[in-house]
């Protein structure tokens, strides 16, 4: 299989870093660039983390900085999970790598346009960069095969009762992207909470012994005990890795095509993902809601991928 041209837009962020570690070795992906947005941590931290992590992985992929804040709102970081620095205190060597001179949206557009085939865009943070790219370049949609994004929640949110973090931080951006006409596959909390890693499995990752596996372990270990309740105590959800692995192979997931909107004006529901999957309305579908994952296959793929280091 020819590796598929892909850009990863992220806010690293501990589980974003886990996703990047996997993306580097997924043979189905040809990662042409990493673009960074503000989210889990301030933009400057996210950019530094992306540069240092790619250097540690000996990965010569371009990194571009994007938006320092959401489209219209004040940035709300997730320091309680990711630490002020986005690494939750995990220390890796400072690399001399520099960002690409272009802003994230320009790099997304130029790489997509230059590609022989429409590219995949994997988004693991707030959708600010993607919304700016779509607003700036009217012809961008025809250069995108699909957008695969971790975000939203059907049952309940994790930042507020209604909203998942990525959608909560920039609901306007998510709403813009979902109605852009580009095919979107969304991986909400309902599926990423099924994609958990157990204590024993995480320990086995550490045993692999490579610097990449060690970093994967370290970034996932920090908040492990804080998030167990989201997966009924069975393990810690690998939110962002789920999106990257979906981009590489969607054969062990199921999804439904339905209307999806993002609330931007509610009093207690800003950032809530609203899906028509179950209502009587049968509105025109605009996105694909990923609903289930075969966790055993998912974990097997993670080990197979980490073993390539």
């Amino acid at each position: 299989m020819t590796p598929y041209p892909t850009i990863i837009d992220c806010d690293p962020g501990t589980d974003d870093i886990a996703a990047l570690i996997l993306a580097r070795q997924l043979t189905a992906l040809d990662v042409r660039a990493i673009t960074v947005t503000a989210g889990n941590t301030e933009l400057v931290n996210g950019v530094r983390n992306a540069l240092d992590v790619t250097a540690l992985l000996d990965w010569d992929v371009p990194v571009a900085a994007g938006a320092a804040r959401p489209l219209t709102r004040t940035l709300v970081t997730a320091a309680e999970y990711h630490g002020q620095d986005g690494m939750r205190g995990v220390v890796i060597p400072r690399a001399g790598r520099k960002t690409d001179s272009r802003p994230a949206w320009q790099m997304i557009y130029e790489i997509a346009k230059a590609s022989q085939v429409p590219i995949d865009l994997v988004v693991t943070g707030p959708m600010t960069n993607v919304a700016i790219a779509l607003a700036t370049y009217d012809d961008l949609p025809k250069y995108l095969r699909r957008i695969i994004a971790m975000g939203g929640a059907v049952l309940a949110g994790n930042t507020t009762a209604a909203a998942e973090y990525n959608f909560y931080v920039d609901p306007e951006a998510a709403e813009r992207v979902l109605h852009s006409g580009v095919p979107v596959w969304l991986l909400p909390l309902d599926v990423t909470h099924q994609a958990y890693i157990t204590r024993e499995e995480l320990a086995a990752v550490k045993e692999l012994g490579t610097p990449a596996a060690r970093l994967f372990y370290d970034v996932m270990d920090g908040y492990y005990n804080d998030v167990l309740h989201y997966s009924n105590g069975r393990g810690s959800a690998l939110h962002d890795p789920t999106a990257v692995l979906y981009a590489a192979d969607d054969s062990y997931f199921t999804s439904g095509h339905c209307f999806i909107g993002v609330e931007t004006r509610g009093t207690i529901t800003c950032g809530m993902m609203v899906t028509d999957r179950y209502s009587d309305k049968k509105l025109t579908p605009n996105a694909h809601l990923v609903e289930t994952i075969d966790r055993e296959t998912f974990i097997a793929r993670i080990f197979a991928t980490l073993n390539r280091y």
Binding site: V154, F259, G266, T267, I268, M272, T275
Partner: protein, 314 residues
């Protein structure tokens, strides 16, 4: 000891079946019935309520007409589901009773004032009457044992992607009820979509024989028509679950959640937001039913129709 209740609804096929269950169930003491607009106009739901109580031989139960409109938003109705009358389908007896003067809130207030033991309110329509009662008579809150309602949905809505019909009809009233601090039991779409009557269950009801059984079977079949067209295998009989939450809680799986109502928003207005992961840091205010033993539910309603049929014959 029987549980005293006031039934408040907008009949409506599933309200009607809920009321059959309420009158037939062992352990419930129906003190009064009130109406609200929703499934159909207030005039229609009140007329339907008079016909249902007449059918059930419950003409001695005080019945009162509720609020003429929602607290803030414009009235809306659901003729696509319940027909033009709000209770289309079988012919019903003409009413042999009238409504009490003074209206629903006055009747509820009187019943609460007079009662020795607190009363459960069982709203199966929009929450307008209950909200007005709480606003107008805060002194009577200690006389309310709790509110067991059909409405909302933690996972999704039905009338809009986010909102269930009863809550959407009067979101501000729902907000007042959910913020009341009273014990709340919520039978929302999470459970009521699982409370399905399948075609073979309609036959069990009809096989009981007699006028009531024929009518209930016809109601189920009418209610199924709308749902079959949108892909259901049976009729989700929503409202009786709010009765079951009082009489047979053992057949429900529940979870205590902090539930809030969205009253604004371009998509989420009327949504019941359940804090499943504890993100809001608030103690639970609602016992939310999420699952049901469907067979036991069908058995309860079939047995209730049979029991009440025997009672009417004797």
């Amino acid at each position: 000891m029987s549980i005293p209740v006031i039934l408040d609804g907008d009949p409506g096929h599933d309200d009607a079946i809920a009321w059959v269950l309420a009158f037939a169930a062992k352990g419930l003491d129906v003190r009064g019935v009130t109406t609200v607009g929703g499934n159909s106009s207030l005039a229609n739901t009140t007329y339907n309520a008079r016909r249902i109580l007449t059918l059930l031989g419950a003409t001695d139960i005080p019945l009162a007409q509720g609020a003429t409109r929602p607290l803030v938003v414009e009235p809306m109705i659901a003729p696509s589901v319940h027909g033009e009358s709000g209770l289309d389908g079988p012919a019903l007896p003409e009413p042999e009773m009238d409504v009490q003067p003074g209206g629903a809130v006055e009747l509820m207030a009187r019943l609460l004032r007079e009662t020795a033991e607190p009363i459960w309110l069982v709203p199966t329509g929009a929450l307008t009457n209950v909200a007005i009662l709480l606003l107008a008579h805060p002194e009577l809150k200690p006389k309310i044992a709790g509110i067991s309602l059909m409405g909302g949905g933690i996972q999704s809505g039905n009338w809009t992607p986010a909102a269930e019909f009863n809550i959407l009809v009067d979101p501000q009233a729902a907000q007042i009820v959910f913020e009341s601090g009273l014990p709340l039991r919520m039978a929302g779409l999470d459970v009521t979509e699982k409370a399905c009557f399948l075609p073979q269950d309609f036959d069990r009801v009809r096989a009981i024989g007699g006028q009531l059984a024929e009518i209930v079977a016809d109601w189920l079949e009418f209610f199924f028509e709308f749902h079959r067209e949108i892909g259901y295998e049976g009729a989700p009989v929503h409202d009786p679950v709010a009765i079951v939450a009082l009489t047979n809680p053992e057949i429900l799986q529940t979870r205590d959640l902090y539930v809030q109502i969205e009253t604004a928003g371009q998509y989420a207005c009327g949504a019941t937001i359940g804090d499943w992961y504890g993100s809001a840091g608030q103690p639970p205010n609602t016992q939310v039913a999420m699952g049901i033993d469907r067979q036991a539910y069908v058995d309860l309603i079939v047995e209730a129709v049979a029991e009440h049929t025997r009672r009417l014959a004797s």
